[in-house]
């Protein structure tokens, strides 16, 4: 999960990915940023994120994103 945190923190330094639990539901990430994150995750972890996985609960926190990556690997 450290790799993911580093990746996101470099691209979005203003967002506290380590502690934030409502990145989507709290309106911290907008749709453009979600798509950017998806592209970065796909490239970094060699996964393909399909529409089934694009839902708020999968992007609301660092843990949720990591769980999704593990599932898709």
């Amino acid at each position: 999960m450290e790799i993911l945190l580093d990746l996101l923190s470099v691209n979005y330094p203003a967002i506290d990915f380590a502690n934030e639990r409502s990145l989507i539901s709290g309106g911290i990430l907008d749709s453009v940023e979600v798509i950017s994150i998806i592209t970065e995750l796909e490239d970094a972890f060699d996964i393909s994120i399909s529409m089934e996985y694009i839902k708020p609960e999968n992007f609301d926190s660092l843990e949720a994103m990591w769980k999704m990556i593990e599932e898709l690997k």
């Binding site: 309106g27 907008d30 749709s31 453009v32 979600v34 798509i35 950017s36 998806i38 592209t39 994120i49 399909s50 529409m51 089934e52 694009i54 839902k55």
Partner: protein, 528 residues
Amino acid sequence: MQYNSLYFLIFLLILIILYYILPHKHQEKILLIFNMLFYLSFGLDKLLFLLISSFIVFLASLKIYSIQQKESLILLKTKDNKEQKIAKNKSKKESRKILIFTLGIVFLLLVYSKYLKFLIGNMNVILRYFNRTIEMDSIYIISAVGVSFYTFMLIGYLLDIYWKRYTAEKNFFTFLTFVSYFPHIVQGPIGRYDRLGSQIREKHSLKYDNLIFGMQLMLWGFFKKMVIADRINLLVSTVYDGWEHYEGLVFVVATALYSIQIYADFSGCIDIVRGASETLDIHLDKNFAHPYFSKTMPEFWRRWHMSLNEWFRDYLYYPVSISRFAKQNSKKIKTLYGPASGRLFVSVLSAFVVWLATGIWHGAEWKFVIWGLFHAMLIISGVIWDEKIKAFTIWLKINTQCFSWRLFQMIRTFLLCCVGRVFFRAENIKISLNIFKKTFSRFNPWILVDGSLYTYGLERWNFNLMIITIVILFVVDMLQEKMSLRQVFAQQNLIFRWLIIYLGIFSIIIFGIYGAGYNSSAFIYNQF
């Protein structure tokens, strides 16, 4: 049946009584019967059209769900990766076929009901060169009320099932109750089954808060529609319908007022329907969050007609952004020009597709296409120039953390929005271009002070009343930004609360704008 008619109030009153008096087990049935009666008031053909669309999507969702269930069973039985992959692919292929076929039918029905006249009109332009035309009168078109709204609800539901977001509804009547739910079928908010389906199935008891809050919200909605929007409409219609006779600043005034009119009209309707739904203990999604306080255009669209924009985000923006076409081309651009350009390509492509679709959704006219493309241009410019503008403000040493900068941003967003409104309100593109031309043909700021403003459809008294009510709307919106006004209101003394409620009721009766037969004018978004 209009939401702002006396018939609707009687209809709602009878429903509330039956809904809470009869045993809980009948609530869903009563709701369905009243939904059907409400929609039947627009015509039997329209109701049949709705039933057919709903039934097709219901059947497709069940079929897709059963394919997915079979796939899950196979995955449980076998641990072999190869077999699992085969099962997944087979399931996806089968369900995709059903999805595409059903979406095709639903789109055809939408095109038939909403866009056929537009298509024939455009085809006739070409056919005239060959001395042929298609007679419009020879085609029977069912212009189904709220077709854009309920079609989107149906598509959203089917895609959610396809993407395994929740399980399919097995009872057609429950599904139909959701789609045809009378508060949202005509003008939204575009309902999501995962949030509304469970509420429809629940048993509801009469709660004082729901009844009072619901009625208060309805009252505020009636005030916005009948006192504010319909009064502004008199001025806006005078200027826009007789545009040949005016020039200069009058168009700026009329367009700014139209922006307020459409907000009061549409959000007023949403307040009425959300309030009506709240009296039945069913809570619809918010559709507005004080959009004119937005500092940027993307923020404006997150606050205006939220259910439509969220729909486009979830069912069009994301799929386009992660499509094979977007990914492949983004990778190519990334290799050639760097990662930022790759990301930019995806943003531009998705924004263009979404805004073109938003424009077309609003109506079968070229002016809506232009309006959509205008907003696409604004959003795309924002994406391209965002970093450069930030750098420029730093270079100019502008304090961007103070009130005056935020106010500047709000006014800028409002003005940009007003430019788009000219296309939206004018009868066609040619007239809107003429209006732009006439706006700058003469500089006549004296119309603001020489009494001319009282000659555009509203005499002095009515014009001043319009200004007062707009100020009330602005203050209420501003307070709502900071607090839950209804909670604060509920904490006040009984006499004060009733005084305000009576003031509201009497101001609607006395200051409301009524047409023939004491019916208020139709809502602007009824046509969509």
